[in-house]
Symmetry: C2
């Protein structure tokens, strides 16, 4: 599978590498279950096998900023493995299975296998690009554009992994999650969604995202052009 290889590239043996020998643990999670906790060092490096998870921070005021949505194939907690106590939390949104690679062994492998290190570096740099785009979205876009952009990002990532159809994808996040991701209040998210639906740009129905015309949403949100 091509995208599977690209997606998991960093964590797969390209040609029978040592990574196969790292100790793994498969963990099943219920919605709301923690993967990593703010302030605690992570036991290892996690990969989401299926289901959705969130990476987020909580402020003194109690409000929450969702830093990223973790989809199947995404990894989390590398920073904590290499740098110490995590600055963010991560928890499952849906029922999910994650795979844990032993932290110490990951570090050892990083020190000896440049291919592994380079793979992880590449995937971090791709994430960095997405993070830059999110920053721009929060700093410089209006409510409807933000939501449109956020949705396109998720849709495209799912599509690259064969988890989306031509006109939509699953969308298990709640309105509050969406609000905390795009930096708006829940009520204002509602207003924006209503407007987006009225203009038939996109719509959330049940736990599904519906995009009648992907090109239109891309244009609307400036996706890819940022």
């Amino acid at each position: 599978m091509l995208h599977r290889k690209r997606q998991f590239g960093a964590l797969n043996s390209q040609d029978g590498a040592l990574i196969e020998r790292i100790k793994r643990k498969r963990i099943a999670l219920a919605p709301g279950a923690d993967i990593i906790t703010e302030g605690r060092r992570s036991q290892g490096l996690y990969t989401v096998c299926d289901g959705w998870a969130l990476r987020y921070q909580r402020l003194r005021t109690g409000s929450r900023q969702i830093l990223d949505v973790l989809l199947p194939g995404d990894t989390v907690a590398l920073a904590s493995v290499l740098l110490g106590p995590s600055r963010h939390a991560a928890q499952a949104v849906t029922f999910a299975n994650v795979c844990m690679l032993n932290g110490r062994q990951v570090v050892t492998l990083l020190k000896t296998d440049p291919r592994f290190a380079l793979g992880l570096l590449r995937s971090r740099l791709e994430e960095e690009r997405r993070a830059d785009a999110r920053l721009t979205m929060l700093g410089r876009m209006g409510a409807e554009e933000r939501i449109g952009y956020f949705m396109m990002d998720i849709y495209e990532r799912l599509r690259g992994r064969g988890l989306a159809s031509a006109t939509g994808c699953p969308f298990p996040l709640r309105r509050v999650d969406l609000a905390d991701a795009v930096g708006l209040s829940k009520v204002h998210v509602m207003r924006a969604l209503r407007e987006l639906r009225a203009r038939s740009v996109m719509e959330i129905k049940g736990r599904e995202l519906i995009i009648p015309d992907v090109a239109q949403l891309v244009a609307f949100a400036g996706y890819g052009t940022v």
Copy 2:
């Protein structure tokens, strides 16, 4: 020098490594000069030696989001070297000197020297933490807090490099730059600055940032607590 070593760690020979042999080019820049351009592949990996630079994106609407401030010791354009055409631009704010490492040679070294790759990975992960914090700041903080946080981030980074005093540091950015960094309009930045000065939390005077009481600013902006 301890922090110098930590700062430049990724790009320094820890024990006589191969990096010394990479071709370097020293480049002097005037304010406003481009380091990298959006859409173009970078020639190499840049390190700021002295002076300030900005990493930013421009939107269709013409507005600009500053993604990060590059201070002496920071590197830029690794993503472009490894992944292709840059998604952001970077340009000097002050007169600056940057050092360029040949891109192809950096890639080669990455493939052969795990220590080098791991060093860069670590520094990317530290940047990731700062990026997370910036996202939270844009998504969930009010104007004055944002500015306070932004200033503390710069102040602390400069201090770690011996470039700040106990009560302040240089601050060559314009009001517009500040606005584009924290996601506000220039006028509103003015309002917030006036308020911050009135409460004697911080003040910009000339091209200097003055922080009468660092602990107070830290508390005010929730710096470190996010």
